[in-house]
């Protein structure tokens, strides 16, 4: 499984997939928003946590179809399916690779982009923490969506239609925790609920995703 993780990481970095692209997309979204809503610092500061969360979610979405698609096309997914590690493990490792290559850079970059939007100082910490807790759920839910649509020729658009509604609870709790933290309010409850969604997704969704993969490989 470690070998699989190393392979996926090497492929993602060398093949120039979602690695830099998601980050660049995130930067562009953060840059476009002030053009759209105007440069007033107060307005930007107010909407910054929400924009950063939505941007991270979309940037994460952008590279989801690469989780299984390439391996499905060149046949290595069939080999992985017959390999001695359980399918659930394969799915979990692939989601982890996606998180490391796509989501983690977003988490690290988010406070910097927050500075672009005049986010107040506690915001840097809270946007980092909420994204760090929440993005594993985004990657795992995305892996499930990618497993559902892996057999389709043009599954990208369908994938976003399937995955975005599933992202709603994570987005709500994540953005809420960040907003409350920045405002100096108590935000333990949304943080715990966010962590709960991540824990449950990581624990349960590999089973659903590998069921979908098995159906698609049949």
């Amino acid at each position: 499984m470690i070998a699989l993780l190393a392979r996926d990481l090497a492929l993602a970095i060398r093949a120039g997939g979602g690695f830099g692209l998601g980050l660049a997309f995130y930067l562009i979204v953060s840059t476009l928003v002030p053009f759209a809503v105007g440069p007033e610092a107060a307005v930007l500061a107010r909407i910054a946590p929400g924009i950063l969360w939505v941007g991270a979610l979309l940037a994460c979405l952008l590279s989801l179809d690469r989780i299984f698609q390439l391996d499905f096309e060149d046949g290595s997914l069939d080999l992985l399916a017959t390999a001695p590690i359980p399918m659930e493990g394969t799915v979990a490792v692939k989601a982890l690779a996606h998180w490391l290559t796509t989501s983690l850079p977003l988490v690290i970059a988010a406070p910097i982009f927050g500075a672009l939007m005049n986010m107040p100082a506690p915001g840097y910490w809270w946007i980092f923490v909420t994204l760090l807790i929440g993005t594993p759920a985004l990657s795992m839910i995305g892996a499930f969506g990618a497993a559902l649509t892996v057999g389709l020729k043009r599954g990208g658009l369908l994938l976003s239609l399937l995955v975005l509604p599933l992202y709603i609870p994570t987005l709500i709790f994540g953005a809420e925790a960040a907003t409350r933290g920045i405002g100096g309010f108590e935000n333990t409850t949304p943080l715990l609920l966010l962590a709960g969604i991540t824990a449950a997704s990581v624990a349960l969704l590999p089973f659903a995703a590998s069921a979908a993969l098995r159906i698609n490989l049949r």
Binding site: L161, I168, F173, R180, L193, A208, I215, R218
Partner: protein
Amino acid sequence: MSDMHRTKQARDRWNFLWEWANPVKFMWFSGRVLPWLIAATVISLVASLVWGFFFTPEAINFGSSVKIIYVHVPTATVAVSAWFMMLVASLIWLIRRHHVSALAAKAAAPVGMVMTLAALATGAMWGQPMWGTWWAWDPRLTSFLILFLFYLGYMALWAAIENPDTAADLTSVLAVVGSVFAFLSRYAVNFWNQGLHQGATLSLDKEENIADSYWIPLVIGIGGFMLFFVTMVFIRTRTEIRLRRIHALELRERMADA
């Protein structure tokens, strides 16, 4: 020994349920029942709508706009029930592999989606004179919008996959996972709105404090829309089964030609 006997008896008693999963039996049964279902649907819908629209008093605070309740509440009830029906049908397909079940789930989705849309649209029409706005990010409204998105995704997945069995499997998995997330969203939305605004003032429990003169046609209306849903699902499932048969016949002919 008597225990084992009894459980076997209980199993036999429920076995008849699964016999309807046989497409031939389903076609026979649904064909016999459909005329009655259609008649009951028409009678109850006409009764509730005519009664509700023309023979109920106008409410003091609401005027005549209150009468849209006879479409709004039943469609909303059916929209949620339809998703539950799809969840149960999907589970039956995943566990027992009854084709009729998968086809019934497929047949129910567009009906449920239209009901969701109708509930949203009538709600907007009602909200405009009452709240002064077509749309508010109230927990109930938002949950219905999310439910609509789930219906969209489910139907899009059915449409995208060519192999019918693969499509049935994948949509069933999606229905199960989606139900968990839809449920989660319902409570997340409640949390979110209370976090930003005062508690929900718009979602009064309408059925609790409604007078009898509105209540009876409303119950008939809910029953009527439920019957309408069942009728539509029966008709659409029959169509799906016939489509499968045509497909099988075509395949057989092509095999004979070759």
